[in-house]
Every structure is written in structure tokens, then in C-alpha cells.
């Protein structure tokens, strides 16, 4: 059990928890979509402060975790080329491909660079006209505007030595896919606050209506998450299924119109495979025809690479909320942050990494996992 005084405002946390406990009369299972929320929940022990019947199912909203193996392998193949400077966010360095990771490519002499912003990669392209600079463009709707702007700028500046390896994914089709699954246990969603700060909230009422699930846009800090859970429980108990915005200080209903306009110009919807989950129709973005020459898959002829997922790693079931990380036999044994079998053990937002970092000792004491 965690202590409430770790919260920034313990009195408010206590009041929110009291209301959640008072309102809960039945067991409910709700999914927090975003990996950042998963980490906050596990780090602060929020799930342990909730009524026994309330289960938090950890969703697939970790972009690093759902980037398919074959895209990682494409990244590795491109990064190993001598003419390439391969730029990535730091989270991707140790995500295992079929045989290695970007960290190993760098150790073997590949020019792999970690950047804070995709615009840093564009700067490298300007400074190194004799090299090919590739940026690994992964992420949900929160990250896509940054990559869109970067490609737009590359075209505007006439930078022909820049390209993007794109693997963008979208939240609403993932919610639909989860609800369509025959094994679905999710009765409500905490939607990802920062995705909605870009896209707004208008995509969600039709989903809440169609699948009869409450969807509550929720922030990332412990108090935000408690407020999201409180509003979700109130809806579930009242038999309502609506969109609510519990993060209005960052999420206007319309989102960010300038970012949405750029996204509509640079990207177009496409089917995407999600690591461990499989293909979800119309669940991602690729470069639109106007920017197709900036597609690294075409430029480096890796579009036809196909690979198979590991049979041991059960991250697909974790990402769908079918098992908790420690229910995988490899958790904490063959699979650790030092030797990860799957991306969920690597990313700072992966559910397996969260359980390993914050729960491993508890799980060992309870006899529920391996040391």
C-alpha cells in the first residue's frame, strides 16, 4: 500500500478516493489507454488505493511498445547503412528487433543519434548535406504534429537528404478494436489527455455511444487520474456512457486546430500492424502523396521486409489487457529491462517495465513472480 502523503495534495487525493469508494457498489474493469498513465498508476500505487472491485486494465497506448517488429527491423537495416545518420527518440534504442537493437547498431559503428525533437534531425540534415538523415517517426497523435512539421519544413527548405521512417498509430481505432475483441473485458476508458490536446474530443462520443462505454479524457498526474477514475465510476454506476473531459486545463474540445491542419496535409490514414496485437484497419498515418518522396521505406527499399513476432514474449496479451505483466512466465526471469524480450519491458511507458521497476519486490514477497 502506498501512502497518500506522496501525493502533491493529500487532502484532495483522500477526498477523491472517498468519493470513489462511496460510489462503488459493484466490480468494474476500466482501461487507461496511455502508457504514461499506466506508469503513474503503478508508480503511485493508485490501483492499490482503489476499492477491491475496481480493476485497472493497462492499455496499448505506448507508442514504443506497439511499433511492429518489422518496422524495428527496417529501422535497424537503414541505421546500419554507412551513408545514414539515423535519428531516434531515446526510448527506441533498446527495443529488440529480430536479432538486435539500435544500441547494438551504434556499438557496431552505425551512426545512430538520439534527438530531443525531430527538428534536431532536420538540423543535422542541413549540416550534413553529403549524408542521408533519417528520423524514426513513431508515436500517437501527440507526437505526429512534430513529425508532420518536420517533413513540411524539409520540403519547404528543399532538403533532399532527409526522410522519415513512419509508424504513426491512432487511439480511436485501437479503442474500437479492443471493444470488438471477443475477449474484451473493458467497461470504460480513461482516454489519453495529450492525444486529445491535439485532436480534441469529437472522435470519442460516437465510440462511447456505439460500444456503450464511458470515455473520460484524463491527465497524467496522480490527482488527474483519480479524478478520471472518479468520473468513470460515477458514469458506470449510473448506467451512463458518455464522453467527459476531466482534463480541460490542457484539452479544449476542438484540440489544436493548427496542428490538425498540418496533420491533414502531411499524413493520410492507413492500416497499421500493432506489435503483439496485429493489423487494425485505418489505425495509423503514413505520408500523403504530396510528401511521399520523404518516405524512408521507399528511399532505402525496405518496404517489403516481413518478420515474425517472438513466441515467448506475451506483450500482445499485456497490451490488450488480457494478462498483467507478472502473469507472463518470462517476467523478471528471461525478460528484464537489461535483457528485454519485448518492447513493453523497455519503454519508460511500457507496462512490463512499470511492474518491474515499481512492483517486483511486492510481487516476489507475494509469491506472485520470480526474483
Amino acid at each position: 500500500m502506498k501512502y497518500l502523503d506522496e501525493f502533491s495534495n493529500p487532502d484532495l487525493a483522500r477526498r477523491l478516493l472517498d468519493q470513489i469508494h462511496a460510489a462503488t457498489t459493484r466490480p468494474w474493469a476500466m482501461m487507461e489507454v496511455c502508457g504514461g498513465q499506466t506508469h503513474s498508476i503503478i508508480r503511485h500505487g493508485i490501483d492499490q488505493l482503489l476499492p477491491d472491485g475496481i480493476e485497472m486494465i493497462h492499455g496499448p497506448g505506448c507508442p514504443v511498445c506497439v511499433t511492429p517488429l518489422e518496422v524495428i527491423d527496417k529501422a535497424l537495416a537503414i541505421a546500419a547503412r554507412p551513408e545514414v545518420i539515423f535519428c531516434s527518440f531515446g526510448d527506441m534504442l533498446r527495443v529488440p528487433g529480430s536479432s538486435q537493437d539500435l544500441f547494438r547498431v551504434k556499438s557496431a559503428g552505425g551512426d545512430v543519434r538520439v534527438v530531443y525533437s525531430p527538428l534536431d534531425a532536420l538540423k543535422l540534415a542541413r549540416e550534413n548535406p553529403d549524408r542521408q538523415v533519417v528520423f524514426f517517426g513513431i508515436g500517437f497523435e501527440t507526437t505526429a504534429p512534430a513529425n508532420a512539421m518536420t517533413v513540411y519544413q524539409a520540403q519547404r527548405l528543399g532538403l533532399e537528404n532527409f526522410s522519415l521512417l513512419v509508424s504513426h498509430v491512432l487511439v480511436p481505432p485501437a479503442i474500437a478494436a479492443i471493444m470488438e475483441s471477443p475477449t474484451c473485458r473493458v467497461q470504460a476508458f480513461l482516454a489519453a489527455g495529450h492525444v486529445c490536446s491535439v485532436m480534441g474530443t469529437t472522435e470519442y462520443p460516437p465510440l462511447a455511444e456505439k460500444y456503450e462505454v464511458p470515455i473520460v479524457v484524463t491527465g497524467f498526474e496522480p490527482l488527474d487520474i483519480l479524478e478520471g477514475i472518479r468520473r468513470t465510476v460515477l458514469q458506470l454506476e449510473a448506467g451512463r456512457h458518455q464522453l467527459e473531459n476531466a482534463y480541460p486545463r490542457v484539452v479544449p474540445a476542438e484540440g489544436n486546430p493548427a496542428a490538425k491542419a498540418m496533420l491533414a496535409d502531411v499524413f493520410t490514414t492507413t492500416d497499421r500492424s500493432w506489435r503483439g496485437i496485429g493489423m487494425i484497419p485505418a489505425s495509423g498515418w503514413k505520408l500523403s502523396d504530396r510528401y511521399a518522396t520523404y518516405d524512408a521505406e521507399v528511399r532505402f527499399d525496405v518496404a517489403d521486409m516481413h518478420t515474425e513476432e517472438s513466441a515467448v514474449c506475451r506483450s500482445g496479451e499485456v497490451l490488450q489487457g488480457l494478462i498483467k505483466p507478472h502473469e507472463c512466465a518470462a517476467f523478471g526471469r528471461e525478460c528484464t529491462p537489461r535483457n528485454p524480450l519485448g518492447a513493453t519491458m523497455v519503454s519508460s511507458e511500457g507496462a512490463c517495465a512499470a511492474y518491474f521497476q515499481y512492483r517486483r519486490l511486492d510481487l516476489v514477497e507475494a509469491g506472485g513472480a520470480h526474483a
Binding site: 507526437t143 495529450h194 529491462p337
Partner: protein, 96 residues
Amino acid sequence: MCLAVPGRVVSIADRDDTRMAEVDFGGVQKEVCCEYIPDVQPGEYVIVHVGFAIQRLDEQSALETLANFENLGILEEEFGDGFELAARQAGEDVPR
């Protein structure tokens, strides 16, 4: 990387026809693109994700969030050296 960190806009300048801002994150300063919040002014707080301002935020919320992130070591994760973090996780040296 889905993290978005609040920061205070210190100054704004056009660079190559792109609106860029110097943004202060509790002492760490970074150059941030503010094309998506085109009318932002120095002194205002914005939420920044991978070097892009994506929304405004009121000062009190921003300061509370920054204090939380500082306590949790999240700012170091966000702005630290990616290779050092990965090397520490792998238990290996940073490749040179």
C-alpha cells in the same frame, strides 16, 4: 515519450520563417517550435512535447506539474542523454 512538460516561454524569434521560442522548464532551457500556438507570448506557459508547444497552460497548473516532475526525476528522463539512460538500463558503456 508521450510525456508533455509544461514550461514558460522566455522569448520568441522567427528562424527560417518558423516561430521558435526559448522555453524554460524549471531551470532547463530548450528551443521549442511554437507554430502550433502561433499567438503565444513571452511569459505564458505552454505544454511541450518533443520540442513542440501543443497547448497553453495556466501558470499555477504548470508550476505544480513541474514540481511533481522534478520530484519524480521525470525531467531528467525527458532532457537527459538518451544513450546514457539506455546504457544504464543495459548495464553497459555508452557506445562511442
